[in-house]
Symmetry: D2
Subunit: 376 residues, 4 copies
């Protein structure tokens, strides 16, 4: 739980790099070559922000079908004079020849339609879409109303929730990077689901997300004046992240889970907050619940178990890869109220993707992700 | 449910006024004299906005301890050149001699400390604080951590949820104007609680409120930079509106109710959204649930049962006295998801107070409240 | 400047209506029939909100090319159960046969392409676009990059800035409803321009607008996440409202005016703030400047000259037809700083359009517009 | 202007550190010990964020009078599990014995009351307040309405606008860290003022700031509901940053400057936008103006001269130390419109303070500040 002496570790890391350089290795050759397809969406450009601050990766391909041949920095002025590349196509085949790892931040169904075994042999793929997250292709097709074009690859994919699947991720060629809601929901509920102290049939997840989660597409419903000074639920009893959460939690508790998941659109750019409710087993105590979180996450850098009674706030994790979690036990009702806060485009998308890349390439999991959350 | 021909009704109403004038009655004498204590809080100034647009009431006392002798319009510039009065004290006794009705938008415990039977004989009182909302004084004292100084008056108070207690309100001298969360929660859940089709032991209310609900006090936690781009739960398992909601719903279903209520602070000025969950009785259908809402609210002007699958949005009720409700039945889990949206300082405070005044004085319940919600 | 005794005037007005009714006149026949083309834009739907609260007009046509045959309230949920009409086409010819007045809240160039003398003989037209605002068609075509298809009608149009052109408006068949920036800019600067106490060659207008001014079109630049937590200038030295402001101020001061106008996009829904700067003539005093505003607007209901040193805030006029203005004289630089705040879709568009309608039909100018600004 | 090959430089830098370590130097001993007084204000906590990501400095003192003995991370949850220190007093004397550099983010007048020559001999001081910014103490006292208690130290202070005073800063013991508005204003106008191509007597600065600029004090005017959906000017013709800007620009153009400066409060957390206007000398061209900016800032890492006609946006610099500037020449009026965007608490306060520290300690000026701005 203690996270000090970062600087010493940095130095050790640097020393290794230096020794490599001194021993004649080409530095440039050592950098991980990363390609991004969908670089001009919100998750894509966050990948850019994070990889630019990563010391062992470089971006070799800014793919964006809508902006081909336009300077990336003319779309995202924040990297003016930092990124000088122009946007390129979404040609996965060509990109596979140039990159060590490909990030796909693309619409549902796109990757499933173009990915092949051959590409996976050439380079690693981290998919930020939902195409390979759900093991049962029938469930995927039912919830997403899309025909899956490469079901045979699903079994090759590892669900990239790092804190849960760390070891499998290290060896993977294809990562199904988790959805934003599933990441925060699963991590907030996991310790109690795993320990069997809550009745999974009573589980309800009420989620709230900033508007970047709705993507950068030009839709009337996402205009400033439609979102600002407003709040609403959407996708009630039908949101496509539901089966993904159910699948992950079923692994935790060892049996199928059916739950309610209700997302809400919040007038803010970034951030997801999860409030989950479940009935506790008889005899459970607040201390016991708390201990389960500490045991689950004591060694985890990116999951912070807050002090008793402190409620997570999205502001405290903004721009970082942290997930803040906590649990409150309500004696009156016998329910646990589980809470989690996270930046939906960092840990909920691009940050976790980089964390996966770090694991896959044998780097310190935190490289490029030790960003202090920004306040206010 | 049909709400047309408003204009004709206006004319009839006007005709009555006119005939009164023609028959020699003093017009000015007919106006209801209203006094406000706590006029410079958010609920108080909303009372001012609404009463200024009310054709049969006038404000005779702008009480505000913090701004005594200052022009009210120097505090709230929106009424510059509309209100020329200066703020006066919170002397209830003196005010009772000048007003037909007193609105108290004051801190918890204030009114209980100064209200007397004599005052209630002189004039009517509509209390926007919680002092007389809970019938069991022990429950009040436990949740509010305040000693109640006039418990004998509690039984005289009518809980001013107009759609439920309309007839009692007409005859009341003291109204306990409902809390914002309890208004929206109770109205969103009432039809199913009343009909006995949900298991009240499974009821969970996840609530979201704009920041005006936190009041106008100068607290660091409510500064712009602390609230903006942020969301958090607060008062988890301990919020003081919990027993108020439980009491009202227990009247609906005929037995004690214990539930979870979790409020969240949202970066917007106005609006409350309620998302409530409960297990349905076996055999319940979506159509049946919907019909219960239509039966409960078909005749209600201020409660709008939305079209199937339409989720309430706070923007659609902003600045108005409407409560938009809807229910979705999730077949997978057998739960009803009940939703309600409302403006927390209109129907959730000042609007409902005016609605109560209208009932108490025999006016059209909608007088001064037929405001079209403002978009965007 | 005194605006009391509103209620008495209401009664007088009502008495007239009543006498008309008593004398056998059809009430329904007396209502002004209003048609709206472009009813589902932000200005169009604000017209709906205002006309619904207007006692002498009714909407007979909700024109919206994008939503033909859809219920208007399915687009704008705020009027659910209030408006039961479906959207109709933009057929001006057909509409002219049904309406007494047509409001066009349409893209630039649309009305100029379809309006005819014959239509204007059938009914009055209030155009919220810029097509007839600028008298010199060459200037219009240069700034708007559009060929004007009915230049002969320009001279028939009256520029509908009510406080300046009141008498001409009463007799007009075609109103060029002013732009939002020009309304606020002209009214904020007019008294000093008219009095000849500022050097018009030094005039600079720095303007800030809420995002509803950018319209309801689905553009990436107007998405919530692009506007929120951001501010930028746009249209610098090239914004199309520049010649409109210059033309109006040239009428005020009696000679051609060339000025700088710089608009900025602000993360809020509604509101325009103008900060204008000009060098004063020698010998000018702060008191003299103030007096000029009071003389110009003392009798105006909708223009409020604030107390000395009070800076206008858009919040104080939100949802209303008020324009708050003030001037500060900086002795150090000899400049007047002129300020104005207004709701861009009320007084800046729909509110002023209704004010124009009231004048054209001989009604009290304030009918339907006596809305108290909403706080917070 | 080209800013590539960052990573190579990082490695060189790391190599030096490594060689130092290899040669037996204590690493920990090499770290700059930094103390912060006022660590729980918005600028103070931003210093914490930046210094935590700085590889050659460590924070040894989190001073905060209001939170003494409380865990810093209990006030700013973003650094939970990152900072384990508790807040300490504002005892400058004691702190001077522990730190190499002291940052004071304190109210006006505080530092002037406690700073001594002796403290300055012990350690360096970077003052984020205004106490030592203005050379003429009479001007300071007139605008700030404060008696300056250590005027003798003013001459020792170097005005820490790094891009202008870089060399002087390197040798300074006391830095007057510039105000937020003055930093952005001066950098946006400097090239034209220096080149003598604008008439300084016509200079007008219209500024817009996010609300963090108003500080973290619990004032009603800065509550969420007062700021949100609102915009206003404040301090018109009287804001205390005026003389600071005038002084700096007078150095640039070589003679006294008197100008108008008007700040506005914007509903966003971070960001300052400057729009400045001045009459150009006859014969000036747009290309010439542009070239002056490029010459002035071509070598500057933190000042980015945008592409022609691109207007700066605060979002593009959020969380970073960049200042984006541009100029547009309006041929119609002969004026230059100069624009600048900056994060008010990074480059406008804490970022520039760290940049100053880097210069004073002989480090790469960009150390700890190469943060990519965060979007959205």
């Amino acid at each position: 739980m203690n996270k000090v002496s970062e600087k010493y570790e940095y130095l050790c890391r640097n020393m290794n790099i230096l020794l490599n350089i001194q021993s004649g290795m080409e530095d440039q050759g050592e950098m991980i070559k990363a390609g991004i397809i969908g670089a001009t969406g919100y998750a894509g450009q966050e990948l850019v922000r994070l990889l630019l601050q990563h010391r062992e990766a470089e971006i070799v391909w800014y793919g964006s079908r809508s902006y081909v041949d336009k300077a990336f920095s003319s779309v995202f002025g924040n990297v003016f004079e930092i990124v000088e590349d122009v946007c390129r196509s979404d040609d996965l085949q060509e990109l596979a020849g140039e990159a060590d790892v490909i990030f796909t931040a693309t619409p549902q169904g796109y990757l499933a339609g173009v990915l092949t075994k051959e590409i996976l042999e050439q380079c690693r793929v981290i998919d930020l879409s939902a195409d390979y997250r759900i093991k049962d292709v029938a469930v995927y097709e039912q919830w997403y109303k899309i025909h899956h074009e490469s079901p045979a690859l699903i079994e090759k994919a590892v669900y990239g929730l790092c804190e849960i699947n760390r070891e499998k991720i290290r060896g993977a060629r294809l990562i199904a990077n988790p959805g934003c809601y599933p990441t925060c929901s699963t991590l907030a509920i996991y310790p109690l689901a795993k320990a069997g102290v809550i009745d999974m049939d009573t589980l309800i997840i009420d989620a709230k997300s900033g508007t970047s989660g709705a993507g950068r597409g030009a839709k009337t419903a996402n205009l400033y004046c439609e979102v600002n000074e407003n709040i609403k639920a959407y996708g009630v009893a039908s949101h496509r992240h539901t089966p993904e959460i159910e699948e992950q939690l079923s692994y935790a508790c060892g049996r199928p889970v059916t739950l309610n998941f209700t997302p809400h659109l919040i007038p803010m750019n970034r951030g997801i907050l999860i409030t989950a409710y479940a009935k506790c087993s008889a005899g459970v105590t607040a201390e016991q619940l708390r201990r389960l979180y500490q045991e689950a996450y004591g060694e985890e850098y990116f999951v912070r178990v807050l002090e008793p009674d402190v409620c997570p706030e999205t502001k405290w994790v903004e721009g970082s890869n942290f997930v803040d979690v906590n649990v409150i036990y309500d004696e009156r009702t016998g329910r646990a109220i589980m809470m989690g806060a996270m930046d939906n485009i960092t840990k909920g998308a691009a940050g976790q993707a980089v964390q996966n890349m770090n694991l896959m390439f044998g780097l310190d999991e935190r490289e490029g992700l030790r960003l202090v959350p920004m306040v206010p």
